[in-house]
């Protein structure tokens, strides 16, 4: 229940000053603030995510990455699409845009090009970015447009109740693959690296510090930077596949992740309950879309 609903729905008993008003802070916390409140929309909490969902962990790392990036907070703009991860924009206290399904990247591209001073970060899920938004993802990587994309990959469509995604591992069960997934999943780091991304990393929700470090590097990177975060969907993916809870998935990451910086991205595909290669795969310098545009204009002007 948020503050506003509580304020509207209940009122302090009249004439009894001993009873605290309903929106007062719990005893012992008066005057204290959560250290991350400044960057969260406290008036929108509690959030919609399930217990042991990995998204909150990623948001924590992201907020720390912003704080430690050395970049003024007001320069950040967060763009999300639709889905569980699509709700991130709504909880982060920055200029934030919750757009249409799959279209966060084109919106972000326009926002960035309109004001290149902004640090535009797309924060969305695998279904949003890689299925319905897949075309935009590859073209943004190809153009090397100077935005950061954080793709939270939980292998499933969570918001709609657990359907197969293009990232669902072969043979995994979802509500739309009751006999096991028959499709080959996308190897997302390989996809964006092949298209020309300047920075590509993958971590899991377990690797909070490494994930944060990757986010800081991605934000600082000039060019298209991409961080995939493998995260547990305990309510749907874990339950459908009898994998236990989100905690069990975190244990699985602990036991089965292999850190391999600079790995050939062709070899980082993910099989059902198989090892997950994590690390920083790509970190290169190359001119951005705007650099190239300016270069062409200068050449044109010199020629007269």
């Amino acid at each position: 229940m948020n503050k506003q609903e509580r304020a509207a729905g209940e009122s302090a008993p009249a004439g009894n000053p001993a009873v605290a008003p309903p929106d007062a802070a719990p005893e012992g916390t008066a005057g204290r603030q959560h250290p991350k409140d400044r960057l969260l929309r406290g008036d929108r909490l509690p959030h919609i995510w399930c217990p042991t969902c990995g998204i909150g962990t990623c948001v924590s790392s992201f907020i720390e990455a912003i704080e430690e990036s050395g970049i003024a907070e007001e320069r950040f703009a967060i763009v999300s699409g639709i889905g569980c991860t699509g709700r991130v924009a709504g909880y982060v206290k920055l200029d934030s845009f919750h757009t249409t399904h799959g279209r966060a990247i084109p919106f972000a591209t326009g926002l960035h090009l309109a004001n290149p001073e902004l640090k535009v970060v797309v924060f969305s899920g695998d279904g949003d970015l890689v299925a319905i938004g897949g075309n935009h993802l590859i073209h943004a990587a190809r153009r090397n447009v100077d935005i950061t994309v954080i793709c939270l990959n939980n292998f499933i469509y969570g918001m709609t109740g657990g359907q197969a995604a293009p990232t669902t591992p072969f043979s995994a069960r979802t509500t739309t693959t009751p006999y096991g997934n028959s499709e080959y999943p996308f190897n997302v780091p390989h996809l964006v690296a092949s298209c020309g991304a300047s920075y590509v990393a993958r971590w899991t929700a377990l690797h909070v510090r490494r994930m944060k470090r990757a986010m800081i590097e991605a934000i600082a990177k000039r060019g298209f930077s991409f961080v995939e975060v493998i995260a547990p969907c305990s309510t749907l993916y874990a339950r459908k596949n009898r994998l236990g809870t989100g905690f069990d998935l975190m244990k699985f990451y602990h036991d089965n992740c292999e850190i391999r910086h600079g790995a050939n991205t062709a070899e980082v595909d993910i099989g059902f309950q198989e090892r997950i290669v994590v690390g920083k795969f790509v970190d290169i310098e190359k001119p951005t879309f705007l650099d190239r545009m300016q270069e062409n204009m200068q050449r044109h002007t010199r020629k007269g």
Binding site: R41, R44, R75, S96, H98, R103, P106, T109, G110
Partner: protein, 384 residues
């Protein structure tokens, strides 16, 4: 030529597509995202050539969905932005057009109509997207759509579209057609200082006081660009005045009807039409775009025969000039509505006539313009 080069002051010989691009530049558009499509490609080509020299941004996106998304993003980045397309691309833009309506994002979409459905007649004219312009994206929202009938109007009405987009904080449609887009005529571009522009309605409130979806007296909220430390939230979900998602029937009722109402309540200021010969008219031809130029000839032929005929040309198709047509329907015998489709705007005319005057559609399936004789025949029938 103006100092900045954005306004090509002078007399030109240019087609409607290029004139629309020049209108956008004269209106202060500095961002264009598009995707090639006949017969609108010339708009993009002109912008690709002109914008970089003016310090603006031209980007060819991967499709029309992305083009519409990018111009919304650019608007929140503080720019005046535009895209241009035709039927198949217009269909793809419906999704993010709806996002633009819901998030009240000023921008301009030019649709150079061709014959459909589907791939239809890529190089030939149609006027078959008029109802799609009104109702194409899901949900309820108001629409402003302008219909040029010459390259000069492509220039003038694109400026007007930008001004309306800023005034009402919404995407505005320019519903051109293939013949107007590809027709080359004289276009007079005035001096920059003689072009009236509406600036973005930036809020003057401090961040703590500002609510991005709290409307003013004219039902339109003020805007702020990203990067100014207002920490705004903008969502396609039903949202409250702060922009926060509030998925309830109560907030839907409070917030969403205003998207329709801000156009309806201000229709008197938005609606434009050009009329002639209405004083003694017994029959009125209601038309728009290229069809209005064919209808003009038919009206002159009918007048030559002694028939009392007037011409009523829609400049705004949406909002539809309801009061003017209701008034006319009380004193004329009939309306004749030629359009290059099998009946779209005719339903609006019929609705306003409400049985008081007969309404005759003169359909054309697309691929060409009407033969004026067919419109004349309908005028004769309406006069009987």
């Amino acid at each position: 030529m103006s100092e900045s080069g954005a306004v090509l002051t002078g007399e030109h010989f240019m087609n409607g597509d290029i004139a629309a691009a020049e209108g956008a530049l004269a209106a202060g558009c500095t961002f264009f995202a598009g995707y090639p499509i006949t017969p609108a490609t010339e708009v993009a080509e002109r912008m690709a050539e002109r914008l970089p020299e003016l310090g603006g941004i031209y980007i060819q996106m991967e499709d029309e969905i992305a083009s519409m998304g990018a111009i919304l993003g650019a608007a929140w980045g503080g720019r005046k932005s535009m895209t241009a397309t035709s039927g198949p691309g217009f269909s793809l833009m419906m999704e993010n057009l709806g996002l633009g309506m819901m998030t009240e994002t000023p921008c301009v979409l030019v649709n150079v109509q061709r014959g459909g459905p589907s791939t239809g007649l890529p190089t030939l004219v149609g006027q078959q997207d008029m109802m799609q312009a009104r109702w194409g994206s899901h949900g309820d929202y108001g629409v402003i759509a302008l219909c040029p009938n010459s390259p000069q109007e492509c220039f003038d009405l694109t400026i007007e579209a930008f001004n309306l987009a800023e005034t009402y904080r919404m995407p505005v449609l320019v519903m051109s057609d293939e013949v107007i887009g590809h027709m080359t005529e004289k276009v007079v571009i005035p001096a920059a200082e003689r072009i009236q522009l509406t600036p973005r309605r930036h809020t003057t409130l401090a961040p703590a006081e500002y609510r991005p979806f709290a409307p003013g007296a004219d039902l339109v909220p003020e805007m702020v660009a990203a990067g100014r430390n207002y920490r705004i939230h903008v969502t396609g979900l039903t949202h409250d005045e702060r922009g926060y998602p509030a998925v309830t029937a109560a907030v839907q009722e409070r917030m969403v009807p205003r998207l329709t109402e801000k156009v309806r309540a201000n229709a008197g200021r938005i609606v434009r039409f050009a009329a002639g010969g209405l004083e003694d008219a017994q029959v009125v031809v209601v038309c728009y775009g290229i069809t209005s130029r064919v209808a003009q000839l038919a009206v002159e032929m009918a007048r030559g025969q002694g028939l009392k005929v007037g011409l009523f040309r829609l400049i705004t198709a949406w909002p539809f000039p309801e009061p003017a047509l209701r008034e006319l329907s009380g004193r004329v015998r009939g309306f004749v509505v030629p359009e290059i489709n099998l009946g779209q705007m005719v339903y609006e005319v019929e609705r306003c006539a409400a049985g008081r005057a007969k309404t005759l559609l003169v359909p054309h399936p697309g691929g060409g313009v009407h033969d004026p004789e067919t419109i004349l025949a309908a005028i004769e029938e309406a006069a009987r």
